[in-house]
């Protein structure tokens, strides 16, 4: 069991650690196994349409009318990516701003209360955000640019949902910056703003970016809120006021009433969602890798 790497962690565990090592391996394996089982089940359920209809149709069909034999998923993939990316663009700066304020510009007492509030915010179920969006945000947009239920509404509600995630992970990342860095900044006579921007944020970037990627994943998979506020029309939006349907919302909207090929097509939609999440996460990871220490 001795690997070629030199790190002692790769050595066979001593006798006393055997049980711990074994159970950790088992737990790690079960995590992977769960994912494998889910993917396998999705593939098994979708196999009929993937073979019968063909993957090509899912990518190129002009519309999504599974009961009439057209299965175009591409507009929904675009909608998922656009809304998630938009929400990260909105929530990212605000979230990081919240974290910086909380860590460096606010008394410890208020900072604690502020973080409690953010944690509470993070715990609000998505259906509540969706409901709020439907009765408040959508009518507001509808008054200016009907129909109101739109990519914009979806993006803003998603941004609200991931904001606490971004803020709390950024705060944790800033908190783990060694105090000596900040002290060194002070010793050099830097202003607080400069220390925050040029020292703390730079040192914490890896944790902050990891939090943003996690938020992106959550936004891509968010179902209920998107279902309620984005209008659910399958189309590539030409403006932010157009109604869109995300992949996740599509499954929730139609699964309860789907049978036969339609049902299988929704499983295929689930596979497409996993692919979109995996690819987006990889790309985001790659894009941000430059600004991050290796390892």
């Amino acid at each position: 069991m001795i690997s070629s790497k030199t790190s002692t962690l790769y050595l066979s565990p001593p006798r006393s650690d055997l049980w711990l090592a074994l159970s950790l391996r088992l737990l790690a394996a079960s995590g992977i196994a769960l994912l494998a089982i889910i993917v396998w089940c999705l593939l098994a359920e979708a196999w009929n349409v993937l073979v019968g209809v063909g993957v090509w149709h899912f990518l190129t069909d002009a519309s999504w009318h599974p009961t009439e034999g057209t299965f175009g998923l591409a507009p929904m993939a675009v909608a998922s990516i656009a809304s998630a990316a938009g929400s990260v663009l909105v929530a990212g700066p605000i979230g990081i701003g919240c974290a910086v304020f909380c860590k460096y510009y606010c008394s410890p007492m208020w900072s604690g209360a502020f973080r409690q509030l953010l944690a509470l915010f993070a715990g609000i179920p998505s259906v509540v955000f969706g409901f709020w969006g439907l009765v408040t945000l959508v009518p507001l947009i509808a008054d200016n640019n009907p129909p109101g239920a739109s990519l914009l509404a979806g993006t803003l509600v998603l941004a609200m949902m991931i904001l606490p995630t971004v803020a709390l992970t950024s705060h944790a990342a800033l908190a783990s910056v060694p105090n000596s860095f900040l002290s060194a900044g002070h010793a050099l006579g830097l202003r607080r703003g400069t220390i925050v921007l040029k020292v703390a944020l730079v040192a914490a970037r890896s944790g902050i970016l990891a939090g943003i990627i996690m938020a992106l994943g959550r936004a891509l998979g968010e179902t209920m809120a998107m279902l309620m506020v984005s209008g659910n029309i399958v189309q590539v939006p030409s403006s932010v006021f157009d109604s869109v349907r995300s992949l996740a919302a599509n499954i929730a909207l139609e699964m309860a009433y789907a049978t036969g090929t339609h049902r299988s097509a929704l499983y295929a939609c689930g596979i497409a969602l996993i692919v979109v999440v995996a690819v987006s996460t990889l790309i985001a990871d790659r894009l941000t890798a430059g600004g991050r220490p290796r390892g």
């Binding site: 009765v135 959508v138 909207l253 139609e254 309860a256 009433y257 789907a258």
Partner: protein, 279 residues
């Protein structure tokens, strides 16, 4: 928001329909009946089930939603004892299944209360839903963009609507697609220019609750439960219990009870139209 005692049950069931999308393993026993299907029929079936359980101690009526398609499917493959279907059975379905009507329902167009439109012809509705007419002023209303609200694929309300207007779903140019009646109503409340179609019972109930929507007449017939009752309203549907072959035992007992006069008050509570008076 105020609410009658039956209403929260209904809301919960609709919510359950969204959450419990996947069928779970169901085992039918002599003392237990499993009913699955249409979210329109389910709240009524659940109310009838509660009373049936009280009258027949030891029995259990388990109602799950999932749409008329699921109702047909589950009954056919034996996943449920009785399917709930809010439409007439198709000819190929009638070969295997038996339908027992327990009530009637109507579907009507709704618009925001402040929308001055009073009626739409069949042709106007077709034009609006196919995208040929996109502004209310073209059909005699205010100068405002029409927001067309449609139902998601697989819903029986959608099927009935398409069938009545002779449309295919791919012809419809909607701006919003929703799952259930309550979502339609919330969309219309939030958008003065919206046009949607919902179950008359639901819409009438919400108007009584003071929600700002109005029901549009169809072919000159007012959208009221009374007109569904006398079947003069053009867009009506039947609420059916379906079984595979002739029902027997507890299934038969339940179906007979659901069709009896003793549940008419429950049918009316749900704003549906009871059987006997519809004849």
């Amino acid at each position: 928001m105020t609410s009658s005692t039956t209403r929260p049950t209904r809301r919960l069931l609709l919510l359950a329909a969204t959450c419990a999308a996947l069928p779970v393993g169901i085992h039918a026993s002599e003392k237990k009946l499993v009913l699955t299907g249409s979210s329109t029929v389910a709240p009524l079936a659940a109310e009838i089930g509660k009373r049936f359980e009280k009258l027949n101690p030891g029995t259990q009526i388990d109602v799950q939603t999932g749409g008329s398609s699921r109702g047909v499917n589950d009954a056919r493959v034996g996943l449920s004892d009785i399917g709930l279907v809010s439409r007439d059975l198709k000819s190929e379905e009638l070969q295997q299944l038996q339908a027992f009507t327990i009530a009637y329902d109507g579907i009507c167009m709704i618009a925001h209360k402040s929308n001055p439109i009073t009626t739409l012809t069949k042709q106007q509705i077709v034009d609006i839903y196919t995208g040929r007419v996109t502004n209310w002023k073209e059909v005699g209303g205010i100068d405002r963009k029409i927001t067309v609200v449609n139902k998601a694929e697989g819903r029986s309300t959608l099927e009935l609507f398409l069938h009545h207007f002779g449309l295919a779903n791919s012809q419809i140019k909607a701006q919003v697609v929703v799952g259930d009646n309550e979502q339609d109503i919330k969309t219309v409340i939030g958008n003065v220019g919206a046009l949607a179609y919902v179950s008359i019972g639901t819409a009438e109930f919400d108007v009584e609750q003071g929600l700002p929507i109005k029901l549009l007449p169809m072919d000159g017939v007012n959208a009221t439960t009374t007109n569904v009752k006398n079947r003069s309203f053009p867009l009506t549907r039947v609420l059916n219990l379906v079984t595979k072959g002739q029902p027997s035992g507890l299934s038969k007992q339940f179906i007979d009870y659901a069709r009896s006069e003793s549940v008419h008050d429950l049918v009316k509570d749900q704003y549906f139209v009871p059987l006997a008076s519809a004849k």
